[in-house]
Amino acid sequence: MDHPLTNVSPGFSSQLVFETFFVPILEALTASPIDITPGQLLTTGLIGQQFVSFFDRLATICTPHNLRRQVFFKHQSAVARLKTTNTCLWCLIQAPQRTLRCGHSLCEECLDQYYAPGHGVYTYVVDLCLVCGLGAGTLLKVKPPTVMPSLLGFDGGGVRGIVALVLTKRLQDALDVPYALWEFFHSVVGTSVGRVITTQVTLMQQLNKFRWSYCT
């Protein structure tokens, strides 16, 4: 039987795909291993074995997304207790943008892929939460992909530029991510002292020399 996944993009060998794309990610993840249960460490090899095992199931019975649903369905009672606004619990690869009534958050790509479109453009009917399966009963509008670029602007005002810097630092702390705030934006612009801040901060950030202590 031909691989059902070959309909749109080639279904290369699971070992090849895993080693090429996911081993670097998991090695970065397991650089500081987390002791989940005494004596059991999360390793790249374990996840790789499970990945290959899932791929073998894909070849005969289902699509990757349906498999993902099955895994969630299997452990739904336990997974439903997890709630976070930092990571989309469905795809696990990016931050969520929308939080449902049940408290679970999803990214807009998952909304686009799993929910039926509403009457309006970029509107989705979210009837049930993907994570817990509870009724959400809401209509969500997402930002169209053409709404670009994202800009960060710094105002002028001489010494009052320190206010913008402190607020930016607090925003960075609140995000609690290991990469710079600037990476969320396509362009950073400023006027007067804002221009100085923009130039200094972004340039020094690129040189890995920027420290927030310079600002405060």
Binding site: L16, T20, T87
Partner: protein, 436 residues
């Protein structure tokens, strides 16, 4: 009516074989309005009297822009035909696309340029369901014997009508056109010209040109490089007619030349090599042919090797070749399927377009199908994804079991690694309604 007059005037202008008098008389006959008839008579009389110049008719035509075009069977037909002096295509520039070359190779001074006329894509566009058809590509190399064999094997394709090409013509077997596994066959005639002989490109379809880097090779070496490093990874079976190349020894030299063009060792993570089938009618110097398999680089270029003794150009010989080809194609398809390298027609066209670009960057290295596929997971940021997985781990430790965490991460990665089934319509179609 006035528009129709303009159309007729334009036709008269653009088609010298149509006389103005004929058109005007025709118009006179079809028009029902008395006033228009009278006007037509005046115009006809004026024209015949030499008072109305042709340029006046052309000037009248310029006042009216053309209507939308319709495309039918590769021939552009404009409802309103504009004169040649305008930018719009005229009846002279509209012709049926007769290009069947897979690729073209041109030399300007010392540089080689590879022209991809999109033949692969245009062949596949004619498939009824390209996403669910898995074609096999067969590459024929030879001259007279090959031409006879192709005519007998692919009886519905009218192969002999096509101009011979030094790289290859690419055609789809009409009889397998609608099957799950259609056959594409490349027809290569060594020694034939490698650039388009049929007029300029661009009038009937788009073509992309790639300047080949670091190329000061001889034409035959460059053709061999295109065959070995670009086309063969997409080919399932290569069939060489030894008699057409001058006998078994000459055929052996030809194959060695092909192998020699893979100068840089293969670093492909997805090895895809064709099966080699050689047909010969003589047993002289057969050892030379067999010895080719012992060449160092043979198995980096070809998957397997088979010699098929055939009587020259007989019906029995052709039937034998056809049967053997059928078996070899089936074997090659099965081998590729087991290695997850059997692409559907759409993927094949997309990957080939990218591979031809990659080939031009490094013509002595075989193209890598995996790299050329531009997998969507290439866009994932290691740092970003690792951060979110780390966050998920921190959140779930103590709340989920160890095996559950592993399953969750692995299933999330599967979705990223095989995103083809992403669309909800596919889920509903293949797996029924959502469990929720």
């Amino acid at each position: 009516m006035l528009r129709f007059t303009v159309l007729l005037a334009n036709l008269a202008h653009s088609g010298p074989q149509i006389s103005y008098a004929t058109i005007l008389v025709l118009f006179f006959v079809i028009s029902g309005n008395k006033l228009v008839r009278s006007l037509s008579i005046v115009v006809l009389a004026a024209y015949l009297g030499g008072r109305l110049k042709r340029t006046y008719l052309v000037g009248l035509a310029r006042l009216f822009p053309p209507r939308k075009s319709v495309v039918s069977d590769s021939v552009l037909i404009y409802r309103d035909v504009m004169p040649q002096c305008c930018d719009f295509p005229t009846i002279h520039t509209m012709f049926r696309c007769v290009h069947v070359q897979w690729l073209d190779l041109d030399q300007t001074e010392t540089r080689w340029t590879l022209t991809d006329p999109g033949r692969f894509r245009s062949v596949i566009d004619e498939f009824p369901d390209a996403e669910h058809q898995w074609p096999s590509v067969v590459f024929f190399i030879g001259k007279r014997g090959k031409a006879i064999a192709l005519r007998e094997i692919y009886t519905s394709n009218n192969v002999s009508r096509r101009q011979a090409h030094g790289i290859a013509n690419l055609l789809a077997d009409v009889r397998t056109h609608t099957s799950d596994h259609p056959i594409l066959f490349a027809d290569c005639t060594p020694g034939a010209p490698c650039s388009s002989l049929l007029g300029t490109w661009g009038a009937c379809h788009e073509s992309r040109r790639h300047a080949i880097c670091g190329n000061n090779s001889h034409l035959e070496d460059m053709i061999a490089a295109v065959h070995v490093n670009l086309m063969f990874p997409f080919t399932h079976v290569v069939c060489i007619f030894a008699d057409d190349l001058g006998g078994n020894r000459a055929c052996a030299r030809y194959i060695e030349r092909l192998i020699g063009r893979r100068i840089r060792p293969s670093v492909c993570r997805t090895e895809a090599s064709p099966h080699l089938l050689i047909t010969t009618s003589t047993s002289h110097e057969l050892d030379d042919l067999v010895q080719v398999e012992c060449h160092d680089g043979f198995h980096s270029v070809f998957e397997s090797f088979q010699v098929l003794p055939l009587d020259e150009a007989t019906a029995v010989g052709t039937h034998k070749l056809k049967t053997t080809l059928s078996h070899v194609i089936d074997d090659a398809r099965q081998a590729r399927r087991e290695r997850h390298l059997l692409f559907n027609a759409l993927q094949l066209a997309i990957v080939f377009a990218r591979a031809s670009e990659a080939f031009s960057q490094d013509p002595v290295k075989p193209v890598d199908l995996f790299t050329s596929s531009q997998h969507p997971a290439q866009l994932l940021s290691v740092k970003y994804v690792a951060h979110h997985l780390q966050h998920f781990l921190r959140l779930s430790v103590g709340r989920l079991s160890w095996s559950t965490i592993v399953e969750h991460i692995a299933s999330a990665l599967i979705v990223q690694g095989y995103p083809s089934g992403v669309h909800r319509e596919v889920i509903l179609k293949l797996d029924g309604p959502s469990p929720y």
